[in-house]
């Protein structure tokens, strides 16, 4: 016991010994005078609850690693990680942040875990939707993309990984995935090329017209034929509108935002 702990009131020393044992039963004895049979109830329920909270978010990673490796991983997370958020949906996020330090995982594991976690993050993202009209010219107007949206770039084909497909090496070119919440609040993933992904990133702040965004892309890509880019880009924007990724164009000023729950 450290000096700080021994200066604590007795009941807190006991509480910390109690949880130290729950987190790491092999390293820390249960507090003196506590019945082994009853202590085991806590060892089991606290770990099992955490394991099911984490597991619910990572079904694929769980299957890919196999039951024993998965249990050992969650066990280590439980023993070593000090979770700082009282919100339950932050448990999977803390687990994701813990993974890079593990060291013994397959090289695609962190990317796969991120891909699984982002579904939860996008489903529950607390967003506001700017005032918009679903119709309107996407080149002249400011396209509004789905408020809960992220462009993801992975070195592994995370969307294809399963117990039967575990990639041995990274892709020659990274895969671009778009994840977004549509107007029915369903989370969708779409694979796309690098240019579309970049266009969505440029549009996401909701500041540029479709035309200005395409011109910026042309500059970034060193594209000489601006007319061709704009005609191609205009069709692309329409396609994104069909897919519920672009929701329309902005109307009015920024005062006109509505909270999504109303």
């Amino acid at each position: 016991m450290s000096d700080t702990e021994s200066s604590l009131p007795l009941f807190q020393q006991y509480q910390l010994a109690f949880t130290a044992h729950i987190r790491h039963p092999r390293q820390h004895m249960r507090p003196a005078g506590v019945q082994a049979k009853r202590m085991r109830v806590y060892n089991e329920i606290v770990f099992n609850n955490l394991q099911s909270s984490v597991g619910a978010c990572y079904p694929v990673l769980q299957r890919v690693l196999g039951k024993r490796a998965w249990q050992a991983l969650v066990r280590r997370f439980f023993a070593e990680h000090q979770a700082s958020s009282p919100f339950f949906r932050d448990i999977p996020k803390a687990f994701l942040e813990f993974l890079p330090q593990v060291g013994t995982l397959p090289p695609y594991a962190v990317s796969l875990a991120h891909y699984e976690w982002v579904e939860l993050a996008i489903a529950s993202a607390d967003t506001v939707t700017p005032l918009l009209t679903a119709e309107g010219d996407l080149l002249q107007g400011i396209p509004i993309v789905a408020p809960a949206l992220a462009v993801l770039v992975y070195d592994y084909p995370v969307q294809k990984i399963s117990a039967r497909f575990k990639p041995r090496q990274a892709l020659p070119e990274p895969v671009h995935l778009l994840v977004f919440r549509n107007e029915q609040d369903e989370v969708k993933f779409v694979e796309m090329n690098a240019m579309t992904a970049r266009l969505l990133q440029v549009l996401q702040p909701g500041e540029l017209t479709g035309l200005a965004a395409l011109q910026q892309l042309g500059l970034e890509m060193g594209h000489a034929d601006t007319d061709a880019l704009i005609s191609f880009g205009g069709a692309l924007l329409e396609e994104l509108r069909q897919q519920d990724i672009v929701w329309g164009i902005a109307v009015g000023d920024e005062a006109g935002i509505r909270p999504d729950a109303s």
């Binding site: 009131p9 509480q15 729950i22 109830v41 329920i45 979770a83 489903a123 529950s124 993202a125 607390d126």
Partner: protein, 300 residues
């Protein structure tokens, strides 16, 4: 109304709002099935800051039902500093959704980090002062009284200086807060630690009760019950609730069902049984001096 003269919107019988039950309640709204569902309860740790379909579901319920917030992670008995940032978020959430009642557990769930489970506080004099101080601070930040719940547990602390009932009474008195009486937890602990649940009930400070829980559990051994909230409520627990109403008057009571979730119709049978008990003559006869919530609200 079953509870006369209360201006408090939380009355009658309620049900914990589990995600599995949520669409069923929405579908059954306005039908006979949910006629006796007077309020619902949510854990703020699941709903604060949640957008998308969760925000819309919450908005649907706040527009139709009075809501109780029953917290899980405040760690009133924990060794870490009280999470005041979180409490400010709770306050904003309660205000935004006009939630009149926030309750928490007489337990701890932190040791420098969150463990997301309810662990027992040793019943010592120092612990009484520690917990009571944190409840007072919580009430200060939230600008309202809170109710704390008697928790279920499995390990008797070898350093305890008093029994559970004395600990509860001492904390409530020093904190000057309300009691969220969990009827099932009294029964669970009476089996796990071999005491008389009826005697325990009579030791509770009835004037502080504003809210109650009832639930089922899993009996693992003759002397061990795991408080899963995963089975139907058993008769001795119903009997304890009836007895509590007789002793202290009727108070709003909620059915907790957290695992092994049945179809809504099955859960509603138990909610309706709560409503029946509240209507029983002995409940009505005693309810006049009770009405604890409206009387005990703290002016903001």
């Amino acid at each position: 109304m079953k509870q006369a003269q209360s201006h408090h919107p939380i009355k009658g019988a309620g049900l914990g709002l589990k995600r599995e039950l949520l669409p069923q309640i929405q579908a059954a709204y306005g039908t006979g099935l949910t006629a006796h569902l007077d309020f619902v309860e949510i854990a703020p740790e699941n709903w604060i800051g949640a957008g998308g379909k969760y925000a819309k579901q919450l908005a649907w319920f706040t527009a139709r039902y009075p809501i109780v917030c029953h917290g899980l992670c405040l760690s009133l008995g924990g060794p870490d500093p009280l999470n005041e940032d979180f409490l400010h978020q709770v306050k904003q959430f309660l205000d935004q959704h006009q939630i009149p009642l926030y309750t928490e557990h007489l337990s701890y769930c932190t040791d420098g980090g969150y463990l997301y489970d309810l662990l027992p506080i040793p019943f010592t004099e120092e612990a009484v002062h520690h917990v009571a101080g944190r409840i007072r601070r919580t009430q200060e930040i939230l600008e309202r009284r809170i109710a704390v719940e008697n928790a279920s547990f499995y390990v008797a602390s070898p350093i305890a200086e008093m029994d559970e009932a004395s600990f509860i009474r001492a904390v409530l008195q020093e904190a000057d807060c309300d009691l969220h009486l969990d009827i099932n937890n009294i029964y669970v602990n009476s089996v796990n630690f071999g005491f008389d649940p009826h005697a325990f009930l009579r030791e509770m400070p009835g004037e502080r009760i504003v809210y109650a829980h009832i639930a089922g559990h899993d009996q693992e051994a003759e002397d061990l019950i795991i408080d899963t909230h995963g089975q139907d409520v058993i008769d001795p627990v119903w009997q304890l609730l009836r007895e509590a109403y007789e002793l202290f008057g009727v108070f709003p009571t909620l059915l907790e069902r957290d695992t092994n979730i049945p179809p809504l119709a099955d859960a509603m049978r138990e909610v309706n049984k709560i409503a029946d008990l509240q209507m029983a003559p002995q409940g009505i006869a005693r309810q006049q001096p009770a009405d604890p919530i409206s009387r005990k609200r703290v002016p903001a």
